[in-house]
Point group: D2
Chain length 138, copies 4
């Protein structure tokens, strides 16, 4: 089942040109949890040279959305109704890793959260952002 | 003064490679309010072909951040501490226009909001998203 | 119609014991906008003697919820799915006035905002809090 | 040290009349985590007879604020700059238990979260709400 789940998410992910622009990849898919990774590309910086908040948001929101999708029937798609991000540390290093999780599944609303960590060349992690939001099946 | 203000913001904006990647421009700057516009580029789509939530977020967050910067002394920079986005309509049409506004200025925290509208070829507007957040001077 | 609307909201409001505990009243009802007022009672203070954040939240959330209810068919009730509050000034003075507004009506989700102002003895207003959230019809 | 910490928080808590109105108590204090409990009093209901969202908010916000205070020097007080709540299940049962945690300490901003669970007569727990916010030392 997880292979089907991963295939469904990979297919949707491949249709998101923004994900390709940012160099993002689906790193793992399990029921209720999805990880997305991306480098901090030169094209995705803010004014101080760190990864842009919109990059961090893109990864966290996408990981959270696909985490919600793992709890829905095949054929459904998912949209973000709302999401909030607290940014805590600069997005710098070798890689950003967003982990999206389902907090409360539901037929009409799915409450989700996501953590985005930056990983340096030695694999040391720093928490860059925490997100909390609501996904809706469509 | 507004010319200086605009120059300060244009300079910071030019250093954000993410803004260039998304084709964004500073459309207007007045004390407490900044507008950013961008097309919905083929590289910035979600899985249904609409503009990605991260595009809408990028414009709204940036407009709100620069609105906050208009209330700060020269030489300061601004970071997003946290921001929340409610997404209401698909990002489609000729242009997205984000209008960021200062709700409450402050030395330590600046409360901001932003509206992001989509404009079609005839200039008709649809509200795509509403954001509310907190900027910090650095 | 507005009289019926007001009667529906007054009936629901009267069933909320928390509103009576806080001394709150429905001050005005129009389609898409509801005002709730309350004094800052001695029983509803925080540690510095100002009105508690939960008082401000209670009024803003309730005004926003009933604003959403004005856009729904009779017989429906409304619940808060999520809401965010930015607190900007202490809740002090003669009265708190919460104004809830519908930003985007919808059959499944209603996006709302609310402002909470404090009014002093001379009627001068200070913005205490801004809320943005999502209501769901039930 | 934890005894001093608990004493500091108990003292501040005792000055919050809203907490007494709601019947709330400090259940536990450790560095970075505080629990607050309260019954669902008849005076704190919403229109369907469940605990009011403002009760849930009050407990979650207070637990999160005091969690932040555990990371600050003696003599400091803490205020909520902003907080977001996702409400997931009705507040019903014998008791509400809010657990506030520090996500990221800081001199100027402290990022916090809180979970609010309802406990029934048998001690079974249901997640009522999740909060994420920003506290500021004053």
């Amino acid at each position: 089942m997880d292979e089907n789940l991963k295939a469904r998410i990979e297919e949707s992910f491949a249709a998101q040109t923004m994900m390709q622009t940012l160099g993002a990849e689906v790193a793992s898919v399990t029921p209720g949890e999805v990880q997305i990774t991306a480098p901090i590309l030169p094209i995705a910086r803010q004014q101080q040279g760190f990864g842009h908040a919109a990059l961090t948001f893109a990864l966290g929101d996408t990981a959270a959305g696909y985490a919600a999708l793992t709890m829905m029937e095949p054929g459904r798609d998912v949209l973000t109704a709302e999401i909030k991000i607290n940014l805590m540390n600069p997005a710098r290093g070798a890689l950003l890793r967003a982990t999206g999780r389902v907090i409360k599944p539901g037929r009409r609303l799915v409450v989700v959260s996501a953590e985005v960590h930056a990983e340096d060349e030695n694999g040391a992690e720093t928490l860059v952002a925490l997100l909390q939001g609501t996904m809706v099946p469509v």
